[in-house]
Amino acid sequence: MSVFILTTGALIAIVLPLLTGLFIVMCPQKAARVLAIVAGVIATAATLIIWCGLAASPEEALRVSLVTIGKVEVIGFVFDRISVMLAACFVGIGLLITIYTVGYLNEGNREHPDLPRRRFFAAFIVFIGAMAGIVYSSTLVGMLVFFEVTGICSWLLIGYYGNENSERSALKALILTQIGALGLFIAVGYLFAAAGTFEVSAIASLSDFNKAVLLILILIAAWAKSAQLPFYMWLPSAMVAPTPVSAYLHGASMVKVGVAVMARVLAEAGAIPEVVGWVIVVGALATLLFSFFMYLPQKDMKRLLAFSTISQISYMFLGFGFFVFGSDLAFEGSVMHIFNHAFAKTLFFLIAGAFSYTMGTRMFPRLRGVLRKQPLLGVGFAVAALAIAGAPPLNGFFSKFAIFAGSFEAASGNWLLLAIVVVALIETVACFAWFLKWIGWVLPGEPSDEVAAAAPLPKTMGFVFVVLIIFTVVSSFIAAAWLG
């Protein structure tokens, strides 16, 4: 019975948004946002019911084959601690951003006055469904399908403003991730040739060599979607998207696709050859250092955030790498960090969007004294920045702590791994200092001209901020309690 409910719920969370997307294209423009929000609410409710359903069930994990040909499962769902939590997070944040968009994409916007076109809501709601699909999928084919769908959606959304620059950026994102997807395409073939099935859990039964090849193939796809070296270029360019889109790309969709796929694959791979761990860890460290140096020259808040996302994702990969070296804590920390970072980064971007909306700029040099003029935005900014920087008691601290604790545990005895952990640790401290600097610049003091002339904040945005601030504080406790 409970499996039935979970499956139906997952189907609703995936298929309903996809259908709504098609439907929106055919409906009058005014109905688009209402339809999107309604579908978002239903999908979020479905993911929450699934979460409760699994919590109430005595099983650790439930598996359902959805589409099988003979004995081979082509598409199926897996409900376990990771998937139910991430799905609720990705879909729920999608809903919050949809609500925010209603306040953002209108003529009152000082940076981009615009009426929302149907295309936006159609692509966005499909994106939400595809994210649920990625997370619940238990087969590589299923992942591949939704992986590609997220590619289309991000392409439509990044290019939304339709000028030369945004078209180029959208294409860059699509093509770079498509080249990465090649890894996943080949992995599908490789797994099928080696094990005669598409199920992710079959990876555990492969020989060490096959397993290493397969995991590295999937890792390439994950790097591309999660904007790691050598594929990172698309993410900073994708900043030309409307800010709600950037928020979703960074917080709970595009870049999270890679880590979510990686988490699923590693969790089911059994004992993993160390070479995979080395590849993951070295890749993560390179990206980490690179993105930190890219922080320094950034003046545009959104570009700074882009590089911050890249480095935060590297922490997750770092945790995955140390999981291969034997630390379960690092893995849990990474999964927790996916969850926590989603709320904090979404909040941060939406705040940046609110700056653009009310003040017409998001350039740091022109933003001063925000706390006095727009207290809610100021508090949101502080909470988000501290959470990203990893200051207790905000959520980012706990997950980063778990990653590093786990890394030290796994690295003890190997000086090279220890060195990597120490370098990463120094990076977090530097990142912390850098964010503190901007908090000190933006929040206190007399408002600058732009800030003083700010328009009032739309109510829908205020509502979303309150919800996100609360979650940025508490999400770590939810995740820790759930993952145990």
């Binding site: 003979g70 769908v149 699509l174 093509i175 395409f185 080949i186 599908v188």
Partner: protein, 525 residues
């Protein structure tokens, strides 16, 4: 009535319609008469073809007639399905398209009559290709398709159209002549080996006798056949005529040329591939297909990206997709063969759709130059949605039809150990995606030119396109059981296994089909 008689009727229907139209005077007879004859013809073809296909697939036995000259097996059925279904849909689309051209003055009453006459003759020649069992007849009918379509390509009688038609006939006849050479080599060899030399022209007896053939001779003959019939299919190195001819033809004809005709040439190649595999073993024929396939894919992908003309882009994409079909044949194995056949079907529908839509755009904008087309979404919203779906499908995105053979091709390639070829294929695909997404963002979105009237085209034009889109989504989400069954039986023929359930019993794929019977709705990728 004997079912083999129906095959004669199937061939006779478009021929009769065409001859009738040819004898009617163009000026004194109402255009309605031509349209009515045309409609009756394409509808009858669908009904007869449908009945024959069902008979072949149900019975599991091929049908032949006229002393074995005409022959329909499961392999041919897949292609008869394509011809009849797309003949109907593009035929339907032709009605409004031609009326529009007549009204706009780009054609006169004479060309109007010519169009329908040759359209039906074209269908007849394609049916002849796929139904013939006589290898000389295969060559003749391939040549016949060229002669007939040359007049369709040149319909508009503009300088460019005539040049394209000329290039088409010169390159194709030269190329297909290689095919004749290959055909004759095989015939000569068979005539020595077979007891009854009269049997040496029949494909069915050639396949049986193939193991006794001279290996060296068959190697040469196969390369000639692939290059020769590959010319017609648009494969490297003789693909140069295709972008011109397919882009200058009236849009519904482009749809048939790209969607169906090149697939018919593929069928002929497959028939020779079967003989070659039986005579030489799979290694050599597969190597040939791999080389020609991958070169076609790479060259065509670059051309798709750099071309500025919508219809040329689509035409080059056909070259790329035929290259993929060749690659799948090169990967071999039941999965590769099935992928090749499915790719023919899926690409047929998708490309026909896109060429019809290019017709919509021509009617609306009067140009094919992508630099001058923008804002389709404002000018013709329904067309824009159909076009976006079509371009996504051509780029191989799920859940649309072409994603399935694409994944199968990747799996087949990797299982066969050709990882590098698969990587090149994937990169070429990324290039194709880039090219088509630029079309969407520049031409479908952006701002429309001021002077254009913002009104979509009529129901009669959009309806066949909507049907094609529905088919593309349907085949992508829930592939119908009969189609899969047909492809499986066809794969068994290509593999030359007596076992119809070749996919069911393959060591790699047997788990797929372990449940025995397929139920229609559970094949979903």
């Amino acid at each position: 009535m004997h079912v083999s008689l129906l095959m004669i009727f199937l061939l006779a229907t478009p021929l009769t319609a065409s001859l009738l139209m040819a004898v009617l005077p163009s000026r004194s007879v109402s255009t309605l008469v031509f349209e009515a004859l045309h409609a009756v013809s394409v509808l009858t073809i669908v009904l007869l073809a449908g009945y024959l296909i069902i008979t072949v697939l149900r019975g599991g036995e091929p049908i032949d007639t006229l002393g074995g000259w005409f022959y329909l097996d499961a392999l041919g059925s897949v292609f008869v399905f394509l011809i009849s279904a797309l003949g109907l849909l593009t035929g339907w689309f032709s009605l409004s398209y031609l009326r529009h051209d007549l009204k706009a003055g780009s054609i006169g009453a004479v060309q109007f009559k010519q169009y329908y006459t040759f359209f039906n003759l074209f269908l007849f020649t394609m049916l002849l290709v796929v139904l013939s069992n006589n290898i000389i007849m295969m060559w003749i009918s391939i040549e016949a398709t060229t002669i007939v379509t040359v007049f369709l390509v040149g319909s508009y009688q503009t300088k460019l159209a005539l040049e394209a038609a000329w290039k088409y006939i010169v390159v194709c006849t030269a190329g297909v002549a290689f095919g004749l050479y290959g055909t004759l080599l095989i015939y000569a060899n068979a005539a020595e080996v077979l007891l009854d030399p009269a049997q040496a022209v029949l494909w069915t007896s050639l396949v049986g006798a193939a193991p006794q053939f001279d290996a060296m001779l068959i190697q040469i003959a196969f390369v000639f056949a692939v290059v020769g019939f590959g010319t017609k299919a648009g494969l490297f190195p003789m693909h140069t005529w295709l972008p011109d001819a397919h882009s200058e033809a009236p849009s519904p004809v482009s749809a048939l040329l790209s969607g169906v005709l090149i697939k018919c040439a593929v069928l002929v190649i497959i028939r020779f591939y079967i003989i070659a595999v039986a005579a030489l073993g799979p290694a050599f024929p597969q190597l040939v297909m791999l080389i020609i396939g991958i070169i076609s894919v790479v060259i065509a992908s670059l051309a798709v990206f750099s071309s500025d003309d919508l219809k040329r882009k689509l035409a080059y994409s056909s070259v790329k997709n035929i290259g993929v079909v060749a690659l799948c044949l090169g990967f071999g194995g039941p999965l590769g063969i099935a992928a090749a056949l499915l790719h023919c079907v899926m690409h047929g529908f998708t490309k026909a759709l896109m060429f019809c839509i290019s017709g919509n755009i021509l009617m609306k904008y009067g140009t094919r130059s992508l630099k001058k087309i923008s804002g389709i979404v404002q000018v013709a919203p329904t067309t824009a949605v159909l076009m976006i779906i079509g371009l996504f499908a051509l780029s191989g995105f799920p859940p649309l039809a072409m994603f399935i053979p694409e994944v199968m091709a990747f799996v087949a390639g990797v299982s066969a150990g050709y990882v590098w070829i698969v990587v090149i294929l994937g990169l070429a695909l990324a290039l194709i995606i880039a090219a088509f997404m630029l079309v969407v963002s520049r031409s479908v979105f952006r701002k429309a030119p001021e002077q254009l009237q913002k009104k979509d085209l009529g129901f009669m034009i959009l309806a066949p396109e909507v049907i094609m889109v529905v088919v593309i989504v349907w085949f992508g989400v829930l592939m119908p059981g009969p189609l899969l069954k047909g492809v499986e039986s066809a794969t068994a023929i290509v593999m030359q296994q007596p076992d119809q359930n070749v996919l069911h019993n393959d060591p790699l794929l047997k788990d797929f089909f372990a449940a025995g019977e397929l139920s229609g709705s559970n094949v979903n990728e």
